[in-house]
């Protein structure tokens, strides 16, 4: 005969506790009476009604307690007061804590800003979530190509025929040409692009002048960016003015001036001409007729709620219904979200561009991940530092904790107090870090080549993340000390006035080991990166890259006047040799590849790179000829020279005029027949030693050197080996020679060694970033170590006094105190070495040519860590050892 339990529980919930006894008693007694009279079932129902009858203010209102019940506000005020007293009394430790956290947070914020920028690429367009880039996948017997390009037909017809697609934007970068302001004749060679009007409708490009949305609708219109407008017109308010483009009779009318692209945009064009301009050209229909080609980079704007895969499948179906593919070839399309273009395009060829147009910049996902981990580690190290110092200091506060407990503080009160303390320290550090970050940002921006800022105009998400990080840091660094310190029993706190806790000590040691492990790994990483970059810049590349001056061919006259120009250049006294080539080693533009096989051989064609060169190439670049002979003169136009790799590929060991056939070539995209329409039949006349014509990340590929007037690719550069003196004079004389041939030309030149160094510019950037982060982690770890050493010395002051009295030398005492910490650093080394070795092996394997990891990297990093730790600790140790024992022993 039990009344409903749930009703009781409910009653206990709302009824004031001091009334529970009489109320429940009444209810139960009445229940018994009723159950006897009416039966259990009805008694239960009445019981519920009775319980509900107690829902009255008289029973709900709680009785005021007889003890004072401080409000939260009062307690928080008290916590803050105690916090400030503690912090100001221990200035050294406060400084160490704040400095460590500030350093950590600064690194974290800087890296965080960098990462945020990398991860929000191309998201400034309002419809960015619905914009997708068309990716063509082409498979064939010799080809496997994934390229960010589509044919005009696919781009145009998809919009008309596929329901999911709302709009289409397409752009083709046709190459470099001269743009002129007809009023003042300012002329610049710029990358020229053509795009349809969808380009301005799908994307939201901000304008400085004019309006962008309808900018590319009319023929003979052009959109330029602010920076180009400034160069051409010295003002950006130029809508309605005309620009002339070489090779085009009609002037182009400027319809809009766009703001310069933000740094986190993948687009880098600075002028776009409307596609309408071309539409009535005779060639246009011909050029765009092939469904399977790769004319344009296409962006589709999908409708709201359109299914991505369905849209891609429909595009592929449309293509296959119309395209005429070679036997054995298959082709399909996929759609890549706009936001993925920056970081997820590693294996996608940047298509629809002339070979002299630079690729769109890409980010490397791996490094984004690495830096994210590094940022978290730095913050973690700073938190650990705080935990370490606070727990170490705690025994000095045992009296305080004891008294608080004796006066009735609960554990939760103590936890809150320590958390308040850590939150205050973290908040102060955050404010300082924001100041430091703003001081460092100009330099940081310069070297990361970004426009980051941390201020009122910063994206609210950054502040949100920063606040999260603040809360996380404060709670993480405060949690361990507060939980640990509030746990001790009152008796042991007040009796011993000391916290003896073995587990606590070993955890602290573990944290020091952890900090130093990370620091050592970072030092080793930095050394390896540094060595690898030095190796890359000083490696024997198979040719001499020093003092090679490369002049670009930017006009037809300069190209056709090759023989005259070479002759004139070599007359300049400071020029030793001149060669003309289609591409130069260390090229950023696409080097053409060809299909090649020995004549009369029925095997699949082999793939090789091809450079058009002249007879001076070997001499000028100092490439060694191994077998056969060099080119002589124009009679060699159907001769080729192979590099060793290509010779091996074609099984040619002795040069005997073997015949080869070259039927097709590609410029980064698909293979197509040569421009002559016929297979190029060539004779092998020589073999040169391998030389690096790409970054040393790549293995040296097979290379065919053809003569300058080969049918595959024309010449594009004059390369001169010059003397190191009077470079400006040499350049002026060259310009004079070129101006005589073509008065409109613009001199464009670079030095090959600088060009090559660009391959490793990103690595250099990463190295610098790593060096600073490594320094910061070491610094933070040292702050922590310094604090711990100070504390250890304080704790053992009596012991040191006694030892000194008994005759220990200062050296003995210093060693005694340093020994413990050295042990920790040694353990950290032991953990860090294999870790760093593994990570660095992974990184180096990315390079086809790389340094070996040598033992001294580890030795240097290890001893550096030891020396730094020793220097930190021994300062305190020596100070403690020098104290007069009378002082330390006199009072108890």
């Amino acid at each position: 005969m039990q009344p409903p339990k749930f009703a009781d529980r409910l009653l206990r919930l709302f009824c004031a506790p001091h009334l529970h006894e009489e109320v429940l008693g009444d209810l139960h007694e009445r229940y018994v009476v009723r159950a006897n009279q009416l039966g259990e079932k009805r008694a239960r129902r009445r019981y519920w009604l009775d319980v509900l009858a107690y829902v009255r203010p008289e029973f709900i209102r709680r009785k005021p307690t007889e003890f004072p019940n401080p409000t939260n506000a009062i307690m928080i005020r008290n916590y803050l007061k105690i916090t400030f007293r503690t912090l100001t009394r221990n200035k050294l430790y406060t400084t160490l804590n704040v400095a460590g956290l500030t350093f950590g947070v600064t690194c974290f914020l800087l890296i965080g800003l960098y990462l945020f920028d990398e991860l929000t690429f191309d998201q400034q367009h309002s419809q960015s979530r619905r914009i997708y880039r068309a990716i063509q996948h082409k498979k064939g017997p010799t080809e496997d190509l994934t390229i960010a390009a589509s044919s005009y037909k696919v781009s145009e017809e998809s919009k008309k025929n596929i329901g999911e697609i709302e709009n289409t934007a397409r752009i083709v970068r046709t190459g470099r040409a001269n743009l002129t302001n007809p009023e003042n004749k300012n002329t610049f060679q710029e990358t020229i692009a053509f795009a349809n009007s969808g380009m301005m409708e799908v994307f939201d490009f901000e304008t400085v002048d004019g309006s962008s949305k309808s900018a590319l609708k009319e023929p003979n219109t052009i959109v330029i960016v602010e920076e180009l407008a400034q160069r051409l017109f010295n003002t950006s308010q130029v809508t309605g003015k005309n620009i002339s483009l070489e090779s085009m009779d009609k002037p182009l009318k400027i319809t809009a001036v766009l703001k310069n692209h933000p740094r986190n945009s993948s687009f880098d064009f600075n002028s776009i001409i409307s596609e309408e301009t071309l539409l009535h050209d005779a060639d246009f229909a011909e050029w765009t007729s092939n469904w399977a080609s790769q004319n344009f980079m296409t962006f589709f704007l999908l409708k709201e709620k359109a299914n991505l895969d369905v849209a891609a499948r429909k595009i592929t179906q449309l293509l296959n219904a119309n395209a005429k593919l070679d036997v054995g070839n298959t082709m399909s399309y996929s759609l890549q979200p706009l936001a993925d273009i920056h970081l997820y395009s590693e294996n996608i060829v940047d298509g629809a561009r002339n070979s002299n147009v630079a690729e769109m910049g890409k980010g490397v996902l791996l490094y984004v991940k690495i830096f994210a981990v590094v940022a978290l580690f730095v913050l973690l190290i700073a938190c650990i530092n705080y935990m370490n110092l606070t727990t170490a200091r705690a025994s000095n506060r045992s009296k305080e904790i004891g008294i608080r407990k004796a006066n009735g503080a609960f554990q939760s009160h103590l936890v809150k107090q320590f958390l308040t303390e850590s939150m205050v320290v973290t908040a102060v550090s955050f404010l300082l870090a924001i100041v430091v970050v703003n001081l460092l940002l100009p330099a940081f921006n310069e070297f990361t080549n970004k426009q980051l800022s941390l201020g009122f105009s910063t994206d609210y998400r950054i502040w949100l993340y920063a606040l999260l990080a603040l809360a996380f840091t404060g709670i993480l660094s405060g949690s361990y000390p507060s939980l640990l310190l509030s746990k001790f029993s009152l008796l042991s706190l007040l009796k011993n006035l000391k916290l003896q806790n073995k587990g606590d000590l070993s955890l602290r040691k573990g944290l020091v080991v952890f900090q130093f492990t990370i620091s050592v790994v970072m030092i080793i990483t930095t050394i390896v990166l540094f060595q690898q970059i030095r190796f890359a810049n000083s490696k024997n590349l198979g040719f001499n890259k020093e003092l090679l001056l490369v002049v670009d061919i930017n006009s037809a006259k300069i190209r056709s006047g090759a023989e005259t120009i070479k002759a004139e250049f070599s007359k300049i006294p400071t020029v030793k040799n001149v060669s003309t080539t289609s591409r130069v080693p260390g090229e950023w533009k696409t080097i053409s590849t060809i299909k090649i096989r020995p004549e009369g051989n029925a095997d699949e064609h082999k793939i090789s790179y091809l450079l058009g060169v002249d007879e001076n190439f070997a001499k000028t670049f100092e490439v060694r000829l191994l077998k056969g002979r060099n080119f002589m003169n124009t009679s060699d136009s159907s001769s080729i020279i192979l590099n060793e790799t290509a010779a091996k590929l074609l099984n040619i060991t002795n040069v005997s005029g073997q015949l080869v056939e070259i039927p097709e070539r590609a410029m980064g995209g698909s293979y197509s027949p040569l421009s002559t329409g016929q297979t190029f039949h060539a004779r092998v006349i020589g073999i040169v030693s391998d030389f690096h014509f790409q970054s040393i990340r790549e293995k040296i590929g097979p290379m065919v050197l053809a003569y300058q007037n080969n049918p595959v690719y024309p010449i594009d550069y004059y390369t001169s080996r010059v003397e190191g003196k009077d470079i400006p004079g040499t350049l002026a004389k060259m310009n004079e020679v070129l101006t005589k041939i073509d008065p409109t030309h613009i001199l464009e030149y670079h030095f090959l060694d600088e060009q090559l160094a660009r391959f490793y510019a990103e690595d250099q950037r990463r190295e610098t970033l790593l060096i600073w982060t490594a320094l910061a982690t070491i610094f933070i770890a040292c702050l922590g170590l310094f604090g711990l050493a100070t504390y250890a010395a304080e704790q053992r002051i009596k012991e040191i006094g006694v030892r000194k009295v008994l005759g220990a030398s200062i050296f003995n005492l210093t060693a005694l105190l340093s020994k413990d910490f050295l042990k920790l650093v040694l353990i950290a080394n032991g953990i860090a070495f294999p870790l760093a070795w593994w990570a660095m092996n992974r990184w180096l394997s990315e390079f086809a040519y790389h340094i070996d990891i040598e033992w001294w990297f580890f030795a240097v990093a290890g001893s550096l860590a030891i020396v730094i730790a020793l220097a930190t600790v021994s300062y305190q140790a020596i100070k403690a050892a020098l104290v007069n024992p009378v002082k330390s022993l006199r009072s108890e």
């Binding site: 006894e21 009489e22 009444d26 139960h28 007694e29 009445r30 009775d50 009858a53 029973f59």
Partner: protein, 111 residues
């Protein structure tokens, strides 16, 4: 004398406490009232009235002994104070006087 601070239900409860004295507590009072009036009366209502009466000074209370049917819980017993007694007297006197003014020796005829 302020009559207005004694509600009808309170008056009945106060009377019941006086009648059931010295063992008056909410369960018996509720049972008694239920028995007398025929309407169901919850202990909650009675308890609330008792609390109010105690607050006004008409009742005092103390905890009594525990019983098994109460699950070992003690009950709160109420007794009428002198003030409570006088109030009851006053109420009764007012009513009596009014009753007396109705013609005493004839039969009541309700229209």
């Amino acid at each position: 004398m302020r009559r207005s601070d004694l509600g009808e239900f309170e008056e009945v409860v106060l009377l019941a406490v006086a009648a059931l004295s010295p063992g008056a507590y909410s369960v018996i009072i509720a049972e008694e009232l239920e028995h007398e009036t025929g309407n169901s009366v919850s202990t909650g209502a009675v308890h609330a009235a008792l609390q109010r009466l105690e607050q006004k000074g008409y009742l005092t209370s103390h905890l009594g002994e525990a019983t098994a049917e109460r699950g070992g819980r003690r009950k709160r017993l109420f007794t009428v104070t002198a003030l409570g007694g006088r109030i009851l007297q006053d109420v009764r006197a007012v009513r009596n006087r009014l009753w007396d003014r109705i013609l005493p020796n004839i039969r009541l005829e309700w229209s």
